[in-house]
């Protein structure tokens, strides 16, 4: 199947709903930080925006907007101890197997196999749902997250939007 033309389909849908045209963020270039060491020596973390929380924590607000909550998750947590609350995507498969959207068992597999150096002590769930406050994201919350990853001496971050 051809990749879904989400931009066109969403533009059309919002138009029919009577909303003004959505102003997409468009970038023509990108920053880049090369990996500092081979993958087999890297401390790897992961971030999901899929409304995933540990069962002992509060569930995410499934219809949140501009929610800058960020959970740190102990990386040895069993993958069946999570709940998903997010109205903006279909998580029926991920409800059965978290690894469909947040592959924490597979990260641990790769660490055990020596493919990556180690799974970081903390994984993250946040930046979920609709964030319209882009300036606040870019100037406050994302830099704070970068500082956190620097403190944790993270070599590589896997980011999985949902």
């Amino acid at each position: 199947m051809e990749p879904v033309a989400y931009v066109e389909l969403l533009n059309e849908r919002y138009r029919r709903m009577g909303f003004p045209p959505y102003r997409w963020t468009v970038h023509r270039d990108a920053p880049l930080t090369p990996l500092a060491k081979p993958l087999a020596e890297c401390r790897v973390t992961a971030l999901t925006s899929g409304g995933i929380s540990h069962c002992s924590a509060a569930p995410w607000d499934a219809v949140a907007r501009n929610d800058f909550r960020l959970d740190a998750i102990e990386s040895d947590t069993p993958s069946d101890q999570f709940q998903i609350h997010d109205a903006y995507y279909d998580h029926q498969d991920a409800d059965r197997d978290l690894n469909c959207v947040f592959p924490i068992d597979r990260l641990r597999d790769l660490a055990r196999a020596g493919v990556i150096g180690e799974v970081a002590r903390k994984l993250y769930s946040g930046f979920m749902g609709r964030i319209y406050k882009r300036t606040e994201l870019l100037e406050k919350h994302a830099p704070a997250f970068a500082d956190e990853l620097q403190r944790e001496q993270i070599d590589l971050a896997l980011l999985v939007p949902a």
């Binding site: 990996l35 498969d93 059965r96 197997d97 469909c100 971050a157 939007p161």
Partner: protein, 99 residues
């Protein structure tokens, strides 16, 4: 999430993003992304497909190790296939859901 990736890299943290929205990701242009042609919510495939999940994850991490230009998007060979088309409409409804 693409915006978060850009800020992390500006501040010295390498990232790789696994996307299921090819055109959405291309607009934001994160530093490195792997596109998987699957429904939102299934970037690593289907429940219980351990080998597939591991393969997609490994390909994403290897992309971080590869010498690629900033803003590179790589298309993964996996295709979710059966049932995908039926989930596009519910996905769009969810993405535009209003309270």
């Amino acid at each position: 999430m693409g915006l978060v990736a850009r800020v992390l890299e500006e501040r010295g943290v390498p990232t790789v993003l696994v996307s299921t929205g090819r055109d959405l990701t291309q607009l934001v242009r994160p530093p490195r992304s792997l596109f998987v042609n699957a429904p939102m919510g299934n970037p690593f495939g289907r429940p219980g497909e351990v080998e597939r999940q591991r393969e997609i994850l490994l390909d994403a991490l290897r992309l971080a190790e590869a010498d690629v230009a900033a803003g590179t998007l790589v298309d993964h060979r996996y295709d979710y296939g059966q049932g995908f088309r039926d989930r596009v409409e519910t996905t769009l409804a969810a993405m535009t859901f209003q309270q």
